[in-house]
């Protein structure tokens, strides 16, 4: 695979893309914003290169720069982009246009947004060959049809007459991919192509991309923040930080021996399947990405680096250095001290933590149901009178949680986990069943009727950092208001004191009291959200995807913070997430939900090992793991999530289940089978049979600690 990589490959064939010294800037009223600095990249024919980095590091700008699509306020400031030997910067507009879509194609993050909502898919596909190759309409149609088949779309004919919104997200992305491949481009740029998709859908797309990159001979530039995905698609990766590449090399080399402290830090932030919160706490990178016009002198990563040396790291711009050249595969790093730092040693300093002792049961959810009534608004429904339909958002939810315990609720979009949170918080009332907090049934008490104590004892951390705080009020006011509402303090001075303490707790500076949310970064906002949730000393905190919108390094810090506070206060934490690796890392027990029903429930170890529910199995398989040595069984689910308005009659998972037994799955609700005390699986397949299933993830038998033990 690696035989044709590198700058000057043996057979002398010119690289598809050769970028050197590229500098891209945006011009705003504030002046020039250098988004990308001194960027080099070479992509050979057929090669897939990953570009990884956190948001704001300039990786999408690179893609736009290659396309020469920088908008009216952006442009190439220096360096060259040679595509098939021609400098993109010197081409005329018309020449660039001919290259776009024909020789270089691009795939985007949001497939829905990338497709024109008012044109049929056929029209959008057909215009590519019709314009670039001036083929006839019939020819174009045939090509579009073939290409859709090639990206595994089941009924291309029907799809072509559809409008984008009529097909699911996964199919939309397949359409975008088909569109990109229609003119058989030499280079394909993929900008976070799966980020907007559910995990199980993502798995299918990733598989498709990997397959295409192997078969078609098209070169790929794969842009993502997710190291785990890189591993599945790319030959080589570049790690970007603040507008420049800090480390590049062959995938195995980088994963095995990351040299740059940032790369290393990234790995430290990712929960791995064989780690948990006690044995190996996440190691967040301190600080945050500098803004493009506030980059420090010397190493941009300097202020956040544990190995920073004043006078050395902050003097001159750091050049790329070769770590080693093995075969044609250069591993290069932008660090002065790359060979001085022993990451292993650094790692051993870290502490392991004692597990929290789970106390008495605090929260009991007993056969809770939440049905919504949806008004049917078709004429037929009005005539027949049956205009109200029920949506079973939550069906028979039962579990409990003890003091200090972390229970994770896992599932993809539409699984009902957010509804569950709403019922708990009293924003909705349960249709049936009970939700008892310290023995009091709260399920039927809406939030308006709860006492301040009840309100204080159950608080929530929300998902979207930009939404969690009221943009109009200062941080101090928002936290102070909670303290006042819950009657914890009433004297303004005392309230202020308490606000300060809470800010200390979430490791934010005290002068944040006067800041407005827009002056805070996403991670900081989530910290404030956590401070607010814990302001009233709650017994139970529900965290609804608190880290899903954050960059990995920030997410790690927020996760750790949440863990620490929970540990300190012995709070019961309900952690709602779609990310199994995060869940595995921090949960004591796990509830897997699908279409409003519990599929599997048990301790973390029980859920992560056979017997699996087939859905759990698929979820596990879909989680990208940033460790080349971990082996994973591939299970790609067919089809899409059914609409909660129209769920399958029998087992909710029956439409996509890879282990479907037969019509019984379609027709009858599955029995709940108990495996041990508290491990339950709702499936028609007998437990014994499920026990026979091979584990999805196989961790090589080695020292649990290090995914990255340098051997140089």
């Amino acid at each position: 695979m690696a035989d044709h990589n590198g700058k000057d490959n043996g057979n002398g064939e010119a690289p598809v893309l050769d970028i050197s010294g590229l500098r891209l800037s945006y011009y705003t009223r504030a002046g020039e914003i250098p988004a990308v600095m001194d960027f080099d990249l070479t992509i050979a024919k057929g090669e897939s290169v990953g570009l990884v980095g956190e948001s704001g590091c300039g990786k999408s700008t690179v893609a736009n720069g290659i396309m020469r699509y920088m908008g009216k306020n952006g442009g190439i400031v220096g360096g060259t982009i040679k595509f098939q030997g021609r400098d993109m910067a010197e081409m005329s507009e018309e020449e660039v246009r001919r290259v776009r879509g024909k020789d270089i194609a691009m795939i985007y993050q949001e497939p829905m947004a990338a497709l024109n909502p008012s044109l049929t898919i056929a029209a959008q596909l057909m215009e590519v060959p019709m314009i670039h190759e001036e083929v006839s309409e019939e020819e174009a149609f045939q090509r579009a049809y073939d290409m859709l088949s090639a990206v595994h779309i089941p009924d291309p004919k029907r799809l072509m007459d559809s409008y984008p919104h009529q097909v699911s997200g996964g199919q939309q992305q397949r359409v975008v991919i088909a569109m990109a491949l229609l003119s058989r481009p030499a280079l394909l740029l993929l900008d976070e192509p799966t980020t907007a998709l559910d995990v199980t859908v993502e798995a299918g797309i990733v598989e498709l991309i990997a397959e295409l990159s192997k078969e078609s001979g098209t070169s790929l530039l794969y842009i993502s923040h997710n190291l785990g995905l890189m591993l599945e698609v790319c030959d080589r990766i570049c790690v970007m930080y603040s507008g420049e590449v800090v480390e590049e090399g062959h995938i195995s080399s980088i994963f095995s021996w990351p040299k740059h402290p940032y790369t290393h830090g990234l790995f430290g932030c990712i929960p791995l399947p064989h780690a948990d919160k006690n044995a190996r706490p996440l190691n967040a990178i301190k600080g945050q990405l500098p803004l493009p016009h506030q980059r420090p002198k010397g190493c941009y990563f300097g202020p956040r680096c544990e190995f920073f040396q004043t006078g050395r790291c902050d003097s001159d711009h750091i050049p790329m250095e070769e770590v080693f050249t093995d075969d044609d595969d250069a591993h290069r790093v932008r660090c002065l001290r790359w060979n001085e730092i022993d990451h292993d040693e650094a790692r051993t300093v870290e502490t392991t933590r004692d597990p929290i002792e789970v106390g008495d049961t605090v929260l009991e959810v007993d056969n809770m149901r939440k049905y919504y009534e949806v008004k049917e608004s078709t004429l037929a429904a009005m005539v027949s009178g049956g205009s109200v339909r029920q949506v079973k958002a939550n069906e028979s939810i039962s579990f409990d949680a003890g003091e200090g315990e972390t229970v994770a609720i896992v599932g993809e979009s539409g699984c009902g986990k957010s509804t569950f949170a709403k019922v708990l918080m009293g924003l909705e009332t349960a249709t049936e069943g009970e939700v008892r907090l310290d023995g009091t049934d709260l399920g039927s008490i809406e939030v308006k009727k709860r006492t301040p104590e009840q309100l204080a004892s159950l608080q929530m951390v929300f998902q979207n950092p930009n939404d969690t705080l009221n943009p109009s009020h200062s941080i101090g006011y928002q936290i102070g208001r909670v303290i006042k509402r819950f009657g914890i303090e009433s004297d303004p001075a005392k309230i202020q004191e308490r606000v300060h303490k809470l800010l200390d707790t979430v490791k934010l500076p005290r002068d944040f009291v006067n800041r407005k949310p827009r002056q805070l970064s996403g991670g900081q906002k989530q910290r404030v959200g956590i401070a607010r949730a814990f302001a009233g000393n709650p017994k139970t905190v529900i965290a609804d995807e608190p880290i899903s919108a954050l960059d990995v390094s920030v997410a790690a810090a927020v996760t750790e913070l949440l863990m620490d506070i929970q540990r300190e206060h012995r709070t019961t934490l309900l952690f709602i997430s779609h990310d199994l690796s995060a869940v595995r890392y921090l949960a004591d027990r796990i509830v897997v939900m699908y279409l409003g029903q519990i599929m599997e429930r048990g301790t973390t170890d029980e859920v992560f090992a056979p017997p699996y529910h087939p859905y759990t199995e698929a979820l596990l398989s879909a989680v990208p793991i940033a460790d080349p040595e971990v082996e994973k069984r591939r299970i790609v689910l067919e089809g899409n999530l059914p609409s909660p308005l129209d769920p399958p009659k029998g087992c909710p998972f029956s439409t996509r289940c890879q282990r479907k037994v037969g019509s019984i799955c379609d027709d009858e609700p599955p029995p709940v089978q108990l495996d041990g005390d508290d491990h339950s699986i709702a499936c028609h397949i007998p437990l014994d049979e499920l026990r026979e299933v091979e584990p999805v993830i196989t961790i090589p038998d080695r020292d649990l600690e290090a995914p990255a033990a340098p051997q140089a």
Partner: protein, 297 residues
């Protein structure tokens, strides 16, 4: 970095006025908005300092049919000329501006208070309340707005108070719709859920949690509506339903002197026509600039 003074106000929402001032400061980003703000500011200052800057009593009849620049009997000069009764047009424009701005502001703010309360209630409580409020808004909005004004003023008589009432009646449904829409949107935000889960009452949520966040579309709309109201007051004056004479109002000035435009004294009507257009332009540009700035945020 860590500590700060004890005087920090904690449990007090920020004043919206302050935010408005900040928004104005942001206008530097938009030259168009800046021009608008300057025009409006100019008229506001003229209105405030009318007694000082107005060269003559706006109702004093001096030298009829004087062209702009004519020397006045008292040695001064009629910069904009005089009207058919010999009243100084500049003074009338200045005082008329004060009157127009006063009534436009009072009317628009009153309409906003009503519209905001209805919109918040409809958008937050939803259900039947929303349906009732929205229905009546539909009823009012489905009637041509100018005709609505005429009907109300013709029924109640032309006075400042009635104009305020008519504007409130006719434009609060539009405001209500905007507020309702924004409220429905904001009500789905997590911070609203957060305030609900700490047991805040509905009016606290509406007024403190939702309203401040609806401000940017509302400020833009407010400026536009100030322009509309200015036009409306003028139009009512034009149709003979405006503010009571003889104190000047721009629309009335146009109507009173419109006949002389074609008689060789175009300045009489054209000056107030320009004044009203300029002020409306100011509001429109300001709104445009504010929108531009708020979008850029």
């Amino acid at each position: 970095m860590a500590t700060n003074s004890d005087s920090t106000p904690l449990v007090r929402p920020d004043s919206t006025i302050l935010n408005a001032v900040k928004a104005m400061a942001l206008l530097r980003e938009s030259p168009v908005g800046m021009v608008g703000a300057l025009i409006v500011l100019f008229f506001v200052l003229l209105a405030i300092f009318a007694p000082l800057v107005s060269p003559y009593d706006p109702n004093a009849t001096m030298l009829p049919f004087a062209f702009p620049g004519t020397a006045a009997p008292d040695g001064g000069v009629f910069l904009f000329g005089t009207d058919h009764l010999g009243r100084d047009i500049l003074s009338r424009i200045i005082w008329g501006g004060q009157r127009v701005l006063f009534y436009a502001t009072v009317a628009t703010i009153s309409a906003y208070i009503v519209g905001i309360l209805m919109g918040l209630a409809a958008g937050y409580f939803r259900g039947y309340l929303d349906e009732i409020i929205s229905f009546f808004a539909n009823v009012i909005l489905s009637f041509p707005i100018m005709v609505l004004y005429v009907l109300i003023i013709a029924k109640l008589g032309a006075s400042g108070l009635n104009i305020v009432f008519a504007v409130v009646f006719a434009s609060s449904p539009g405001i209500m719709r905007i507020v309702r829409g924004v409220t429905m949107d904001i009500a789905t935000r997590d911070y609203i859920a957060a305030s609900q889960t700490r047991g805040e009452g509905p009016w606290y949520i509406m007024l403190v949690e939702i309203l401040p966040n609806a401000r940017s579309p509302l400020i833009v709309d407010f400026c536009l509506r100030m322009g509309y109201t200015t036009i409306t007051i003028g139009a009512l004056g034009f149709l003979g339903l405006g503010l009571p004479p003889p104190d000047p109002d721009w629309g009335g000035m146009i109507t009173e002197t419109r006949a002389f435009v074609t008689g060789g004294f175009p300045h009489m009507a054209i000056m107030p026509a320009c004044a009203v257009s300029l002020l409306v332009l100011g509001f429109n540009l300001l709104a445009d600039g504010l929108r531009e700035v708020s979008l850029r945020d």
